[in-house]
């Protein structure tokens, strides 16, 4: 179901750029989306205590009981229904309607600064926002994420060969960042079959090392390995994953959380601490009594980084 596709496109200018890293079934195939048990089903009264192993959407093995499986199947059914809405819209508006240039809305929702605006663009934007909030079907995520996040725009400002050249420039170079990356590769979701393979780790290494050369202030920060690995699984191609990582770090997330002194993390922690003191004062008190290092910083660094 989640086998690694090793097919190389022979006539492609550079196979790595557009090679599909691995495959997920299309959302329109109902059977493929239903979770299959690896433990045989028993008609026993205590079935819900039975621990089962199943593979999730992105190929991770998950352990849970039958109730968990049912909940997950329900979620998948909802995703499938949501998918139908997307397909129906595609049929009426044309394929890739969601990739149209979007209007920038300044000052939050509803305030649109463009006066000479086509009504269809406006309705498309509103529809798209509503649909995204309900969830993007997994097969469309690579395209929609790339476009909506601004990663596609970012990529369009540099020559087509940028990523390949960047990777070529990093090959065979050892920096503090690449040393740390090499330490972390085998520790990044080793439970995932593709990420635990040589091919997967090489791919993850190129994305992370490439970014560390692009942005010397961030370089590589532990935690980015998990972000990049998930991006590879969702985006399917390495270059798209790279641009998603770039747009996340440069435009979406608090970039200072990853720079050399993690100053953004310090800020986030202070804010979190104050919020907690305000909203859950009892929790802070208990932590103090148990001598958890809470006086300066709450132990929540991972939340801001991963």
């Amino acid at each position: 179901m989640f086998g690694i596709q090793t097919r190389d496109v022979a006539d492609d200018f550079n196979p790595r750029r557009r090679k599909t890293l691995w495959n997920t079934p299309p959302a329109s195939m109902p059977a493929a989306h239903t979770i299959r048990y690896t433990t045989p089903r028993k008609s026993h009264a205590n079935t819900h205590h039975l621990s089962v192993k199943f593979e999730d959407l992105y190929g991770f093995m998950v352990k849970g009981n039958v109730d968990d499986v049912n909940v997950l199947n329900e979620v998948r059914e909802r995703i499938r229904q949501q998918g139908r809405v997307w397909w129906a819209l595609e049929a009426s508006k044309g394929a890739n309607w969601y990739l149209q240039p979007r209007i920038s809305s300044n000052g939050g929702e509803g305030v649109i600064s463009v006066t000479s605006l086509k009504l269809s663009v406006l309705t498309n934007t509103i529809t798209l926002r509503r649909l995204i909030r309900k969830g993007v079907p997994p097969v469309l995520r690579p395209k929609v994420w790339l476009s909506v996040s601004g990663a596609a725009k970012k990529r369009s400002t540099v020559p087509e060969t940028y990523y390949d050249e960047l990777i070529r420039a990093t090959e065979g170079k050892t920096t503090p960042a690449t040393r740390q990356i090499d330490h972390d590769l085998p520790r990044t979701f080793p439970c995932h079959p593709w990420l635990n393979s040589e091919e997967g780790q090489a791919s993850l290494r190129r994305v992370l090392a490439g970014y560390s050369f692009r942005d010397s202030e961030v370089g590589y920060c532990q935690g980015l390995n998990y972000v990049a690995a998930l991006l590879l699984l969702v985006m399917k191609t390495e270059e798209d994953a790279f641009w998603m990582l770039a747009v996340l770090l440069e435009d979406v997330l608090v970039r200072d959380c990853y720079t050399d002194n993690l100053s953004g993390c310090h800020v986030e922690q202070r804010v979190f601490k104050d919020l907690l003191a305000k909203k859950c004062p009892r929790m802070v008190l208990v932590s103090l009594l148990q001598n958890i290092a809470f006086r300066d910083n709450p132990p929540g660094v991972g939340c801001f980084i991963q």
Binding site: P176, Q180, H183, D184, R187, T188, P190, C191, C221, Q222, G223, N225, T259, D260, N261, L262, S263, C265, H266, L289, Q290, N291, I292, A293, R295, D296, N297, P299, G300, V301, G302, C303, I305, Q306
Partner: protein
């Protein structure tokens, strides 16, 4: 009056380069388990374990920290109030040995112990099992010399994978921390025996 006996909480910080096996050592000691599949530690995490030392029940609160250099900037909150610091290096990785001095000094700077010269440290050389020792690059003598230069700090060679010497190392840590705790005479380090047990609970950030 058994119920009035006080339980001592000792805070231990584990430091060292990324990938030397800090998380593995801690998990081997507390859970008696080894896994090849540990995640890299982000920020810090702690585990607790109760040990009996000379008829005294003490709770070790062992803080595992991230090894990447930039995470040291977050250290001050974790280091404060520590009773012992465990420095870990990988006997197969020279770099992890060379950075020990930095970790040592950084801890003293950030934790700010009242008597830095006598603050208890311990050095652990981990992964002695790897390839039956054939890949080893830091000889035992070199490590012992380093320990002597830092005021005779105790040295242990361990394998978190094979559970070699891990208990002994942590027992030594607990004893040192307890001695230090006596010297410090800090009042709020002890909690009443009747307090809810925190035995072997993974804690820290749940994300």
């Amino acid at each position: 009056m058994e119920s009035l006996r006080r339980r001592t909480l000792l805070k231990v910080i584990v430091l060292g380069d990324s990938g030397v096996g800090k998380t593995s050592l801690m998990n081997q000691y507390v859970h008696k388990k080894f896994s090849q599949q540990y995640k890299a530690t982000i920020g810090a995490d702690f585990l607790t374990k109760e040990v009996l030392i000379e008829d005294r029940l003490v709770t070790l609160q062992i803080w595992d920290t991230a090894g990447q250099e930039r995470f040291q900037s977050l250290g001050v909150a974790f280091y404060r109030g520590a009773d012992c610091c465990v420095l870990v290096y990988d006997v197969n990785a020279k770099r992890s040995f060379n950075t020990l001095g930095t970790w040592h000094d950084e801890f003293i700077n950030q934790a700010g112990p009242s008597d830095p010269k006598h603050f208890p440290f311990i050095l652990v050389g981990n992964k002695v099992d790897q390839d039956a020792g054939s890949r080893r690059v830091v000889p035992e003598k070199k490590a012992k010399d380093w320990c002597a230069s830092k005021g005779n700090i105790p040295y242990f060679e361990t394998s978190a994978k094979d559970d070699h010497n891990v208990d002994d190392a942590f027992l030594c840590i607990a004893k040192l921390a307890l001695e230090h705790e006596h010297d410090q005479d800090i009042y709020f380090k002890t909690v009443a025996e009747s307090a809810p047990k925190t035995e072997e609970q993974p804690a820290g950030c749940a994300c």
